[in-house]
């Protein structure tokens, strides 16, 4: 510690602040040796390694701003031009986007729900103490999301669920935490922050490509309201993430002939009179309508 203090004193007296108060990362490592020791593993180190970036985009000062005042004051958080723990979320965003704005995945970050709710970059990313080296996440991805989204955590604890807790999937397989375009396959702006598949389709189709079609006979609910018309996307106590425990309820709640709905505006057609719901075998809709997501050979999805 004494040696570090002496080094710090020497550093304080040593490097004279350069233009606009920049002193270079070498001055920082004198006192912040613990951060510096592993900094070469950090993706931000490439700004130092290249030697091509201007001072305001290089190393420690690339993020924290000119360090001249901090060195002259021999430390102190308030003397750091950009001390992230003291910045407002919008200021954190400005600092990070100075370099990270070019990526398409972050093109909507200023309009995202996270930004509007005051969730800044540093809420999820830890530059110096990341637990996940890829993307410098402060914790494993699902755990980060669960930290705020307890209801989603509950949904992924259900018996039927997508395998996020098991590590097979990540939240970002379907969502873009930096903000996404509006889900135009639906009418409203919800669900928010959903990362569309190529071609602005629902992200479900990225993996469930057999449901993607095109089919000659598409089940309109898949195209018009999306998979959520029948399924809970995160998890459910019902089999196959269905919205109801029994299949006929899922079907009959739409296929009830009620006016104003459907393509003709006179209702989604009811089942045929040949169906006798008093007979148990007619309650298993998908036993006959086996290709319920779409078919090329049957407008009733029979094959």
């Amino acid at each position: 510690m004494l040696a570090l203090l002496l080094l710090a004193s020497a550093a304080g007296a040593g490097p004279a602040p350069g233009p606009a108060g920049y002193v270079g990362s070498n001055a920082c490592k004198t006192c912040h040796a613990d951060l510096w020791l592993n900094f070469y593993k950090n993706p931000h180190y490439k700004s130092i390694a290249s030697g091509l970036e201007p001072p305001e985009r290089t190393g420690c000062e690339g993020c924290h701003g000119p360090g001249g005042a901090h060195v002259e004051a021999r430390g102190g958080k308030t003397t750091i031009a950009r001390a992230f723990s003291l910045l407002r979320p919008a200021q954190v965003l400005d600092a990070c986007l100075a370099c990270h704005a070019k990526d398409l995945s972050r093109a909507n970050i200023r309009r995202s729900e996270h930004t509007r709710a005051g969730v800044a970059c540093s809420s999820c990313h830890s530059i110096h103490k990341a637990q996940a080296p890829r993307f410098l996440l402060a914790r494993k991805q699902a755990e980060l999301c669960y930290g705020c989204h307890s209801a989603v955590r509950a949904q992924f604890s259900m018996p039927s669920k997508h395998r996020v807790n098991e590590g097979f999937m990540q939240c970002t397989d379907c969502h873009n935490p930096h903000g996404a375009m509006a889900p135009t396959w639906r009418m409203g702006a919800r669900p928010r922050m959903v990362e569309q598949a190529l071609g602005n389709e629902e992200p479900c189709l990225k993996c469930h490509s057999d449901k993607r079609g095109p089919f000659v006979f598409e089940h309109p609910s898949v195209r018009v309201d999306g998979c959520e018309a029948c399924h809970f996307p995160h998890g459910s106590t019902n089999p196959r993430l269905l919205r109801r425990p029994v299949v006929f309820s899922v079907c009959l709640e739409c296929h009830n002939g009620a006016g104003n709905f459907g393509r003709q505006g006179d209702g989604i057609r009811t089942q045929s009179a040949s169906h006798n719901m008093a007979d148990p075998r007619y309650r298993n809709c998908t036993a006959c309508h086996a290709r319920i997501h779409g078919s090329n050979s049957s407008e009733f999805f029979l094959r």
Partner: protein, 657 residues
Amino acid sequence: MRSIRFLVWVGAAGALWSQQAIAPTPEPVGSPRGENLGGYNVVNSFETGYRFSRIDGDLGRYRSDVNYRNGVRLLGSNLTVNSRDGHGRFFDEIVLSTLGLGNDPYQSSLLRVQKNRLYRYDMLWRLNEYYNPGLTIAGGLHALDTRRRLQDHDFVLGPESNWSLRLGYSRESQTGPALSSVQLFDGRGDIFPVFRDIRRTRNEYRAGGRMQWFGFRLDVLRAWDNFKEDTPDSLDGAGSAGRTTLSGFRRAEPYHGNTPLWRVNLHRESKVWAMNGRFSYAGGRRDFVLDEMALGTDRFGAARNRQIVVAGNARRPVATGDFLLSFTPGDKFSLVNNTSVYNNRIDGNAAYLEFDNARASANLAYFQFLGMRVVSNSTEAGYRVTKWLGFRGGYQYSARRVSSVEATAPEGAGLQALRYTQESHLHSGVAGIRLQPLRPLTINLDGEVGRDDRPFFPVSDKNYHLLGGRIRYKTRSVALETSYRQRYNTNSVALSTHSARGRDYTAAASWMPRGWFGFDASYARLHVDTVSGIAYFSRLQLTPGQSVYISNLHTGNLGMHFGLGRADVYAGYSIVEDTGDGGRAGVFDPQAVLAGAPQAYPLRFHTPLARLSIRLHSKIRWNAGWQFYRYREDIALSGAFQNYRAHTGYSSVLWSF
């Protein structure tokens, strides 16, 4: 030393949250600083062990929900290689992590290789043993015992430069046996299970680039998606189901096609204004042939020899455009406007030909068409009055037009095309308040109200509102949060009513005062109740009714981590209980549900777990864990309970070298 302490602390934090699957062990092993080899630094760890399971009860349901089985595994591994000066010859960083390799039902490998400023390569490979015992209400049909493999490769040349080139490849496959069903020979014929040998593959190729000038960034992507399914269906021996008999059945249905895609994105980001424009066009096409032969007798005892031949193609070109413009003229005010257009038309050229080979007669039918166009515009403004108070509000308008051509008669009876168009308009408004009275305390309140004049489905959003609130208190060692979210949607029409009400209540707390101790707990109550009008036929009589569904889910997670010298102990408990409508009916009666009785699915899913990890050496840990799953239904959906109890666990060695 300080960083080492912190890394241990971070490891403890990870151990605290990673409770859902007992293995791999999240505790750190080896030096967090790694070893220096030449110009590189290497940090690695491998966990090898034996996973065991003992299942009592419904194995099919267990395999559907959990699916961990016995065997030796590479439970997990992590490897990072970093060049120490940022000037490695071929690479500057390698990150490789794996999960469950060896035979776990969920396996993955993630690889990143990059050289600073020159290239970056990312690979993700995943395997899922996808098992489904079949829908209980459908008599166990549609059972699946398949393997899904997914892989994604992305290569970027010049990732940080103003000009970059991107190449990508993704592959997905699903293979394995399955059971489906076929219904023969007319609308009241019987249902037969058929065997399916699922063979699906998708290959996607991507090429694109990014260029930047005067602050504008242009991204162009060209992609080709090839999909093919060659799943044959067959009958395994003659069968009889009621009055219909089936002595032979086979179906071949090759379905191949591709989706070529263009996506162009132009965006500019500055502190005062930003724009983001995107256009995409995907011209999906699938070609198919179906040949189905069925031999048997129909429900009247007459011999049937039916062949169905279908050939053609299906096309679905989708064009979309988005344009987003935002202004942030000061530190306090922001204005965002977004316009989106979505247009697809599903088109096809299918000819359905049904032969009755015994009578030498044939029926011919053609396709239908479905097209959809959505135009949306939204404007949202935000104003931060003070450091601790901000408001936001917005308005959205969407217009949708659905066009279709469809048949008026069942297939084979001579179709007549009818054209329909349906239009709907949605108006919605959002508002929110954000408060931050103290630095660690944030309060967010928001709401949305929407009115759709003609939703497509009775269960679609029509007259809906959302209300939500979240209070969060977070310091370095403590995080407390509670939230409430309400979603109500009410559709009232002449013949039918649909009302859906959802309310979520959550509370969560985590406390990590020291590196050796951590506590995490959360509770969520998810309530849904819906009332929907239904109509069904019962003995040729059209019967109106109501479908009532009630779900009251109580879920809880509790986890505690202790670091006791060389030993780390983690104990957790996860509970999911659906109490339904409060009354735990012993028998599920579909007839009663059709008559309007509340439909609920009360069940309990409990998962306690415990793990012990002992540091034997600075580079070796021994770990053992136990996780118990108890699934219990209060009603039997198809006459049989799917309950199970499963003891799972593992013993492993986590080592670094």
